[in-house]
């Protein structure tokens, strides 16, 4: 006992989990989807991801170091996650400068201006994505074709984009159905779309890993996908001529990506299981409303951001079940 003893209040043992481990597990969970995107979009996908990650980490470091004048916490892994998620949300051939701008909005505006990790109200990657979507609608909705698809086309539309555009042009649904990819293509990810959203299967794989490692709980994804299924199912059941099947809605667009990786962001989702169910159902219903009645083909980003805003309210009113509380 050469040194003086340490005194601290109990408990004196600590779980070996840490913020960094959680973040790296999220990164690990995103790897299958990333690998798939490289497979279908080629090295462009890797380029976009690397630029987004590098930009997010650089902005985080520079702003914390020189503007906020605090010790940079860039090694906690949260900027890495934000970068990958941002990349997952953009087309693989997005110009680098648009990506860097998106990273700036995500890290500087959505995260650090609120006080950094843990204090932000909205999911940083989604704020970055929505900012880009509104500012650069053309670049953000022009998707490159997958390598496996026809070689004569240079751009491909997402399944949801096809439908929305068709309906706006007054085409009947059954005519449009023929242009849609098959369910198995959508499950695998042989469709047009942003980097991370194409393969529902790979995203589910990552989700299962995170569930196993207890990074996320089942509440949010199940509530989102379940409510989308039910909501879409009701419309399909009432009028199958005018509406698509609920399974199509689950597999198309960013539903999986949003439900598994974006909405489950710890910082911006409610604390209790019950709260997460309310939050998830809110996201599912808003998403379907935008998809079915809005002018955008896809609405999960908006839905998540809207429900992020409700999270403090949900936290204030949905309390865990107290031990010995009167029923």
């Amino acid at each position: 006992m050469s040194n003086v003893l340490t005194i601290s209040p109990s408990p004196h043992v600590h779980t070996d989990d840490s913020v960094r481990k959680i973040m790296y597990r999220v990164v690990l969970a995103m790897l299958p989807a990333l690998a798939w995107s490289v497979f279908v979009f080629g090295l462009d996908a890797l380029r976009v991801t690397l630029i987004a990650v590098a930009a997010c980490m650089a902005f985080e470091y520079l702003i914390q170091r020189f503007v906020m004048k605090v010790t940079p916490s860039v090694n906690d892994g949260s900027a890495l996650v934000t970068g990958i998620l941002l990349a997952f949300n953009v087309p693989a051939d997005l110009p680098w400068w648009i990506l860097v701008l998106g990273a700036f909005v995500a890290v500087a505006v959505a995260k650090l201006s609120f006080g950094g990790l843990g204090s932000n109200i909205f999911n940083p990657a989604l704020v970055g994505r929505v900012f880009l979507l509104i500012s650069f609608p053309v670049q953000m909705t022009t998707w490159p074709v997958t390598k496996q698809a026809a070689v004569d086309a240079t751009t491909a539309a997402t399944p949801l984009g096809l439908i929305k555009e068709g309906i706006l042009n007054g085409k009947p649904l059954n005519e449009l159905m023929g242009t849609l990819p098959s369910t198995s293509d959508m499950l695998l990810g042989n469709i047009g779309g942003s980097l991370g959203e194409v393969s529902a299967l790979m995203l589910l794989l990552g989700g299962l890993y995170m569930l196993w490692k207890k990074v996320i709980t089942w509440h949010t994804p199940v509530a989102i996908l379940g409510s989308m299924f039910v909501f879409g199912g009701i419309f399909w059941f009432v009028d199958p001529e005018a509406y698509l099947t609920p399974v199509f809605h689950l597999l198309a667009g960013g539903a999986m990506l949003g439900a598994i990786f974006m909405a489950t962001d710890m910082v911006t989702s409610p604390m209790t299981g019950k709260g997460q169910l309310i939050y998830g159902v809110g996201i599912g219903v808003i998403t379907m409303c935008i998809r079915l009645f809005g002018s955008y083909p896809e609405g999960i980003s908006f839905a998540i951001l809207i429900m992020n805003g409700f999270t403090p309210l949900i936290n204030a009113y949905v309390k865990p079940k107290r031990f010995g509380g009167q029923k």
Partner: protein
């Protein structure tokens, strides 16, 4: 087209007038009478809302002044006598004069004088540390050094000295609101009479252990030897529980107690250096 504009103007004006009438009656109905002097008194106060007077902010103090109709128990330490005479003028009352005071930290157990015997590794506030255990040194009465007093100070008047590990009061900024006195779990901070030229003499120790034990824990601990008590010609010094205390209201700043203290527990601040004694005090410090 024009008829639409006319209708719009008429409708909006009607709504506006109706609302104004409703508002007027509601305002009349729920009117609360408030003594206008409260506003005047509040305006005369410093507006620091520090709570040093014992009330929840300046407004509450102003209300108390008006309600009590007697200022003998009310005093704003921040504004001082000047401010209180202003308040008294507004209310036509007599203000009590009080000597200005200043916060003094009664511990001199710097890292050098008081060796650490343990390392605290919890949430770094004095309140938590003191409720857990006696502190990082063997002195259970001394400063913990986590700066709860610094956090509560609204006037930026107290800061931790990273070298000594003790808080230091900036006399010019201190308004004697007493927030730090409340915050210190070891009750080390005292509001003492403010002397001219910021001079002070006080026992910088609160250790009530027996002499030997106190000395073992800290080189500059008061050991309760009562030499200072005998030396003082003004009955300003009392010894209780192995600890000397100098009453600042009786002290005449003669500095005799300082030179007799065997452990240098009595501190003089802002005095001109003395020619011979200064050297001896310094040499004893070095020898320790």
């Amino acid at each position: 087209m024009s008829i639409t504009i006319v209708y719009t103007v008429i409708t909006l004006s009607a709504i506006g007038t109706l609302s104004a009438v409703v508002l007027y009656f509601v305002a009349q109905k729920f009117k609360v009478y408030e003594d206008p002097r409260i506003d005047q008194v509040e305006a005369a106060l410093p507006g620091a809302n520090c709570g040093g007077c014992g009330h929840a902010g300046c407004r509450a103090f102003a209300e108390a002044c008006v309600k009590e109709n007697d200022l003998s128990n009310l005093f704003c330490p921040v504004g001082g006598n000047e401010c209180m005479s202003g308040v008294a003028g507004i209310l036509g009352l007599e203000a009590v004069k009080k000597d200005p005071r200043v916060a003094v930290v009664r511990c001199n157990g710097t890292c050098e004088y008081r060796p650490k015997t343990s390392n605290f590794d919890g949430a770094t506030t004095c309140a938590i540390a003191s409720s857990l255990y006696s502190g990082e040194t063997d002195c259970q009465y001394g400063c913990l050094g986590f700066g709860d007093c610094v956090v509560v100070c609204d006037f930026d008047a107290i800061h931790m000295n990273p070298v000594t590990g003790l808080p230091e009061v900036i006399d010019e900024k201190c308004v004697a609101c007493g927030a730090c006195v409340e915050a210190c779990p070891k009750m080390l901070i005292e509001l003492r009479k403010k002397f001219p030229k910021e001079r002070k003499i006080y026992v910088a120790c609160r250790n009530e252990d027996k002499g030997g034990q106190a000395r073992k824990a800290c080189q500059v601990a008061c050991i309760g030897c009562s030499k200072c008590e005998k030396e003082c010609a003004y009955d300003a010094i009392t010894i209780a529980n192995n600890l000397a205390f100098i009453d600042s209201d009786k002290c005449k700043l003669c500095r005799k107690c300082v030179s007799v203290c065997p452990t240098n527990a009595i501190i003089e601040v802002n005095f001109p250096p003395r020619k011979i004694q200064k050297e001896t005090t310094e040499s004893t410090t070095v020898n320790q």
